[in-house]
Amino acid sequence: MESRQLTVDELAYLSDAVSRPKLIDGEEDFEKTTEVILDPITMPRAPKWWLIVLVGAVSGLLLYGVSVGYLFYEGTGVWGISHPVVWGYAIINLVWWIGIGHAGTLISAILFLARQRWRTSINRFAEAMTIFAVLCAVQFPLLHLGRPWYAYWFFPLPNQMGMWPNFRSPLLWDFFAFSTYFTISLMFWYVGLVPDLAVLRDRAKSKVKAMVYGFFALGWRGANRHWQNYERAYLILAGIATPLVLSVHSVVSFDFAVSQLPGWHTTIFPPYFVAGAIFSGFALVLTLMIIAREVYGFKQMVTIYHIDTMNKFLLATGTMVGYAYTMEFFIAWYSGNEYERFAFVNRAFGPYAWAYWTMFSCNVFVPQIFWFKKMRRHIAVTFVVSILVNIGMWFERFVIIVTSLHRDFLPANWSYYIPTWVDIATYVGTFGLFFTFFLLFLRYLPAIAISEIKGIMNKADPHYKGYTSSASSNR
């Protein structure tokens, strides 16, 4: 074969084809980047919009307090749950919130191990979301207890009764799954924060702030040994957190799959729940991130490329849950079990058909729009879809729980579940809880990992072309 020199055009095409997309737009320098990230924290007064949203969030928190207080005073009778629909909003919200957390862990752990460097721009943000979402989620099993002051019975504590919790119960597995998940997520988040806390300590204007940030910075001085230990700890925690992405929601799905109710007793549940969890989590990351990058001017660090990539996750996981919805129907038909068949036909065409088709449209049809690159890179479309996805995912849990229960084996028990105002106020209230934490996070901690982001900046690339010129111009 004859050899020849490549033309200039061919070379340009090839180098374009093998080059990776820039993870950071623009030619920002390191110092400027740090300042952009720290700006929301170092500005002397919180912006007006922040205060207004905080007032809204705290009002939500108060609403939560009122509805929970009323619940504790009166008992779970104030909720819409009754025979045969004994699980209602509380369990729906639990599964929904815990599912949302999964995106954070996936981004922070799995994408870290897979060396997906684009995750660096969004991991801090997504991890914070995970922690606050898990906090909201774990409220619900406690509220659902009826006698929440016995919540410590969840714990396998030594006691005079010679009794342990029932280790064969998925509800106990839940307890372990959630507590592990929360602890690991918090540790992962915190370890990642340590170098940034040291930055905040060093830049703090008041002595109190310096002391507080300094305490949490664990004496970080940026020494070589500090960095080595940090990198190692981060890697180990990523390794520990990785299985949790799959295990936590699998355990949640066991609450249903281990029971023998048609509509719940399905082996597809664990992977189906995990896909749904990542789906809803990415959607909420997108919703919050799109707002934050606009407001805080993070557009250079959270680029269209990031949104494009996350939308691909939405498309993939949305299609997976669509597959699961369809496969459930196939299995119901293929099993030949008439109760199973009834449960699914009733799901799609029974009294809750409206909920089923809301779910199906939001989760399966809507994300298909992301086959088009133009749509994946369209901010407004992404924003709307991300919200629709979370509405759809809430309805998924509603459909699974309520439609499976409302048609009992005895037709005399059949009923139609309607939530009460307390149900709705508690759910809305957890948004207050979530956003209160989230706004405080945005004001007091860096929303993007300051130290990590430097590693993916254009200037950190050893082949950075502008290096000499910018270095000489700086001189």
């Binding site: 504590l157 030594p158 009764m161 010679g162 310096a210 300094g214 664990l218």
Partner: protein, 212 residues
Amino acid sequence: MLFPKWLDKLTPIFLWGGIVGLLGVIFVFWYWFSPKSLNVGYQPEQPIPYNHQLHVGQLGLDCRYCHYTVEQAAHAAIPPTEVCMNCHTLVKTNSENIKKVAASYENEEPIDWVKVHNLPDYAYFNHSRHVAAGVGCVECHGRIDQMEIVYQAEPLSMGWCLECHRNPAGSIRPVEFVTDMEWSTEDPVALGHSLIAANNIKARQDCNTCHR
């Protein structure tokens, strides 16, 4: 200097302090808040200082003379004043305390004895069942024959009940010795096993054995 070097030691102190503190709280509740610590030794003041040590230990009254329902009923009766008066119409009638008993008898007003061994309302306990199986009084109530004023000798906690229900052999004796405070045998476990086999004794551990 804002951060003296010793501050670095603060983190491990907080970390270990937190872990040890948490374990400490668990220990405090497990140990000092258990019936073993809270209830053992409960010795309420009785309206009349009835002396079990005298009546049982020295005079040799059988438990069933006063607590006469114990073989037939769930509840072991606190004796009515009439039982006391079987003897005390004649014995020690000049004593201040016996005068109170006599007054109760004449006025037909029962003496307000204070219950010492309390179980929660949600725990069902049947004395007759245990007596019939050959569980000695002393196993749960201790050496009543040595107590001037009765106190609670055992925790009566669920874990304590289960300890015996899981392994009852050492606490079973021939039924005729049930009330004997000093009964002993060379190998109580072996005897217990043979009695359990012979009398088909089942120390159940289902929830609804006690929580009905």
